[in-house]
Subunit: 180 residues, 2 copies
């Protein structure tokens, strides 16, 4: 859930803030009574890939909370200084150590409850090298019938995988924009 009113102190001067609707605005923001700074809170992007090798997709088993031990696609928060595509590539390297060629944007799912947008690209693995990082217990390739559907970490990952296998059967890969 989105943590409301989680800002208690001004990031510029440390003074306790109050929540109010600033002039020329229509939402409550944390406003500093000392220096006047308005603190905006906005949704964040989680970026990742569906890495594919032949008939198989790559999944990573999480070594961290939330959902420790569950399977996910490589993904994580987009960082300052990178493009959406850079972030998707970076997370694939950090979490799986896979070598990929990024393809088209494949799903964009707004996760309103937690203030996130999840963006997944299709990616072609260029070899079967895998070198999982510290956030991953293991990384491996799965045929569709092997996917552990009841052990998938996040609903956006499950929806993206379902969309992928449906698209593969149909032979085309349109972008899916949705929300949960």
């Amino acid at each position: 859930m989105i943590e409301l009113r989680r800002i208690k102190h001004c990031r510029a001067c440390g003074t306790p803030v109050g929540y109010k609707v600033p002039d020329d605005d229509n939402r409550e923001r944390a406003v500093c009574p000392a220096c006047g700074l308005i603190h905006y809170e906005n949704p964040l992007n989680v970026v990742g890939t569906v890495p594919v090798w032949g008939e198989q997709v790559l999944l990573c088993r999480r070594a961290i909370e939330p959902r420790h031990g569950f399977w996910t696609l490589p993904a994580g928060f987009m960082e300052l200084g990178e493009t959406v595509e850079d972030g998707a590539r970076r997370e694939t390297v950090e979490e799986a150590g896979a070598n990929i060629e990024l393809q088209d944007l494949f799903t964009m799912i707004s996760v309103v409850r937690v203030g996130q947008v999840h963006l997944f690209y299709r990616a072609r693995m260029t070899d079967t090298t895998l070198d999982p990082g510290p956030e991953t217990l293991e990384a491996r390739l799965f045929h569709e019938h092997e996917v552990p559907w009841d052990q998938i970490a996040f609903r956006t990952v499950k929806e993206t995988l379902q969309h992928y296998f449906a698209c593969r059967r149909a032979g085309s890969y349109p972008l899916q924009c949705s929300s949960i």
Copy 2:
């Protein structure tokens, strides 16, 4: 430009923070020496539309900085509690007072220098009602030859408009993902 090290005080307890690389991380974050809170800073989404009425597109002249007096597509920061699509619709209502049917995602442009991702949808105006809000000096419809190309507020808006007119000539509207 991205403001680096702009967090001076902990948002939870007000203590002056220091920037360092937390354990199990690979980037500097503002970390509170008193309560241990790690403050992440990530790119934000700007969401908007290309509202179309017949052969014409809707532009708004900005009543606020930056780029006061320049023309833009209706767009603004995505807010907590909404989907990407909700945000694009909301900004179109707030800035232009236009009635639209949202269509497909049309451009997604990473603006790395400022830590933003700009997402524009095509939108079909359902009538010619316009009721500009306080952030807009005027809103009006433009034929392609009337677009004030040298008075467009932002490069992502210019690229989105150029992509739109090129797509219209070609008769199809594929998503453009790019970065500047």
